[in-house]
Point group: C2
Chain length 458, copies 2
């Protein structure tokens, strides 16, 4: 028995097992993967199993004036899924059904708690492809991907999560349900509320169903990897690959400090004076071999000191290894604080030069891997956890990187979102009129400010 009337009501609506108040379980659900974001102590965790149960939860939260934080796999990197004191955590873990995969319409209809890799594998079994592939894809959920408009490695060719969301079912703060968008490829009936929900980080409603676009599965990708002695050469080669219309299905960049950290972690045969690495893929089937040869030739023409081209899937995997090792290689060096600026590609050299200067100014190591084809970099400040002075400098450097991104005509976040982490810079990026407008849009959906309040806006 509980003395909490909200808990009693939820148990009555959803059943005992769907409502959790065990402090240990609640404690384990306080945070997502963001570092340096505070999290509160939740009042209760609920696991609704249907749209109507989500409606019950939101009606109860509204009646009791209790804020709701929706959580998928909590792999986010900006604290958007962090608990607030006294909040209700709404887990999508039981809303985990793939409701339909249509080969003819090339769509999937899923509940939000479906894990990205589960969907990807299910549709691949039918010759189809769900492209959005955030690094967290083996853990993160489609609902979380929608909430952050997640990107990934292959969005340089295919686009981000939002480009694959046709329509949504959403429970509003009032408990009412809307269906947005469509199942058809095209549709322009009214305002694009689907896109407004995508990337809204749980502040506008709870997504209970998504209709997702799929594509015919491409063939396995082939890889080329090139080593440069400078940042400029690597960036110029990436720009030339994009300009050539080769449509790489992956185009990743590692700067010198990142490459050296990887070489120290595992011998990849990289020279001590490595300036940058570029890794490119093509998945254009019969043309992939020709594409990667062309990309390799572009890299050579831009001063690459070593260029490797894979002739099969296994060699391709090996050439991608350096990219995959980034997190593992940086982890022994200290605490990492991952930024997510995106700039026009023409500003990438200025961004990387500026980041080096910021590292020097604040006396911290900043490694800079990134999705260079999209101009989306992840400058990663690395520092000693046991040194409070280093931590303070790291946080200042983290902010300076965002200021630099904005000064270069870019954005403070290419794919990770605002959450709690970047609220003060959102105000800077949007300006006062834009920010006020966004707050008003939230009020339309959530007049009581109960859906993930304290996120996005300061």
């Amino acid at each position: 028995m509980t003395s909490d009337p909200l808990v009693a009501r939820l148990r009555s609506s959803l059943g005992e097992k769907a409502v959790v108040t065990d402090p240990d379980v609640l404690d384990s659900h306080r945070n997502d993967h963001a570092t340096f974001c505070s999290a509160g102590v939740p009042r209760v965790l609920v696991r609704p199993a249907s749209t109507s149960e989500v409606q019950e939860v939101l009606r109860a939260s509204s009646d009791y004036g209790v804020p709701v934080v929706t959580q998928g796999a909590r792999t986010g990197l900006s604290g958007a899924a962090n608990a607030l004191d006294g909040c209700l955590l709404l887990s999508t873990s039981r809303l985990n059904q793939i409701l339909e995969v249509s080969v003819e319409d090339q769509v999937a209809v899923v509940q939000p708690g479906v894990v990205n890799s589960a969907l990807s594998k299910a549709v691949l079994g039918q010759g189809l492809f769900y492209p959005p592939d955030p690094s967290s894809w083996e853990m993160s959920t489609i609902g979380g991907n929608i909430a952050t408009n997640a990107g990934g490695l292959c969005c340089v060719k295919y686009g981000v999560t939002g480009d694959f969301v046709r329509g949504l079912e959403v429970v509003l703060a009032s408990g009412e349900v809307i269906r947005t968008g469509r199942r058809s490829v095209k549709g322009v009936a009214g305002y694009d509320v689907t896109r407004l929900i995508v990337g809204s980080e749980g502040t506008l409603g709870v997504v209970t169903e998504a209709t997702l676009a799929l594509r015919p599965a491409p063939e396995a990708a082939l890889t080329a990897a090139a080593t440069f002695l400078s940042i400029e050469d690597g960036i110029a080669a990436a720009a030339a690959v994009m300009a050539a219309g080769l449509r790489p299905s992956l185009l990743e960049f590692l700067d010198g400090p990142t490459a050296r950290a990887i070489q120290n972690y595992r011998d990849m045969g990289l020279p001590a004076d490595v300036g940058s690495l570029l890794i490119a893929q093509s998945d254009r089937g019969p043309r992939a071999a020709e594409d990667v040869e062309a990309m390799a030739a572009i890299c050579s023409a831009h001063g690459a000191v070593d260029v490797a081209v894979a002739s099969d899937a296994e060699e391709s995997r090996m050439l991608l290894e350096a990219r995959r090792l980034v997190n593992a290689a940086l982890e022994p060096l200290g605490v990492t604080l991952v930024d997510d600026v995106a700039v026009p590609r023409s500003k990438l050299v200025a961004l990387l030069d500026g980041i080096a200067a910021i590292g020097t100014k604040y006396d911290v190591l900043i490694c800079c891997p990134g999705h260079v084809g999209d101009g989306n970099m992840h400058p990663t400040v690395v520092f000693d956890r046991d040194d409070p002075a280093a931590e303070a400098r790291a946080l200042e450097a983290f902010g300076a990187v965002m200021d630099l991104g904005l000064a270069l005509g870019g954005t403070i976040t290419g794919e990770h979102g605002i959450g709690k982490l970047k609220r003060q810079w959102l105000a800077q990026e949007l300006g006062p009129v834009g920010l006020a407008l966004q707050r008003q849009l939230k009020s339309v959906f959530d007049p009581g400010n109960l859906l993930n309040p304290d996120k996005l806006f300061l």
Copy 2:
């Protein structure tokens, strides 16, 4: 001299020549290309030449409580640009500058009055490609394309206007200016207001600048055209082309009545019992020939009685001729009322069967060309202008087609928008909760309901 204080204020702000009250000019600006949409008598037409002049106009309209209808080239098909009695018409004709084309960033920055074809040609000169190609592309403006989220022929491969809009400068009803979105490829900072403006038909603000994504120019497309004896075979062949992952850069369908009208207008060698035509293109350069052969083989395998494959650009143009002649061929038959339903591809045969039944029921000719790869059809009701009874039946048939599209899980508009023409069906498509939410979103942007009121919502 004028006795109208609004006109006097506008002349003082914008100059004499930018403010038009000549009744003949006003009369010529009352309508867009929609048929069967009423239009009011405007009070004044203004042609601002800068963002700050647009701000002046909106401040004046706000102060005088005068509704504003923004007009591009008035090629829209839903009456969204039609005048209201006593309104101010805001023409974007002098906001017609291409401000920048960046080869490195693959973006263009343009004012809204730039004509689509002018932009397309300007960027092609630099090896770049702006894909959105509504049929009106030689006349329609980028601002109008954004206002309607215009589609076109090549969106089956490349997507619609909204997929190419990175960021906007927008003047709000208050006269304040916001910048939405970004110049970088990716960005998730805050709600996607850019996408909310795209397709909003002039009801949320006045776009004064757009940053558009470009792509490297593809090579000239090659064409295949196939003739079938039934609708089912043509639709099945189209589905098979899409399922094969061939990525056609155009995939158009003409049903039997449309094909026969074209054959009567000009001898294309089509059989009298033609059931449907399919026209497909590939622009994949060296692979295009292989692609169109593969598409032709798919058509043959699906029962095509005649398949032609172009070996060069001139032959490709000739094979597209039938598609280009649709409007000219239907025009002599009577007044045309063009619908714009889009359904999941799996429902296309049901849609076409249902449309035939609607034609029979209401005793009108309905021709059905369409963008079959996207499931977006343009069922066109044709009737005798001098027969009021036929007109009434045609309007009923027009509505019945939308009801059918909705019943098949589709949308009432794939690319033309709601305007005045489809307001009653928008309510049906969105449902009461969704519709109320959209009205509230408008109120955030336009609390005085002065921006294109009387459009979208009844």
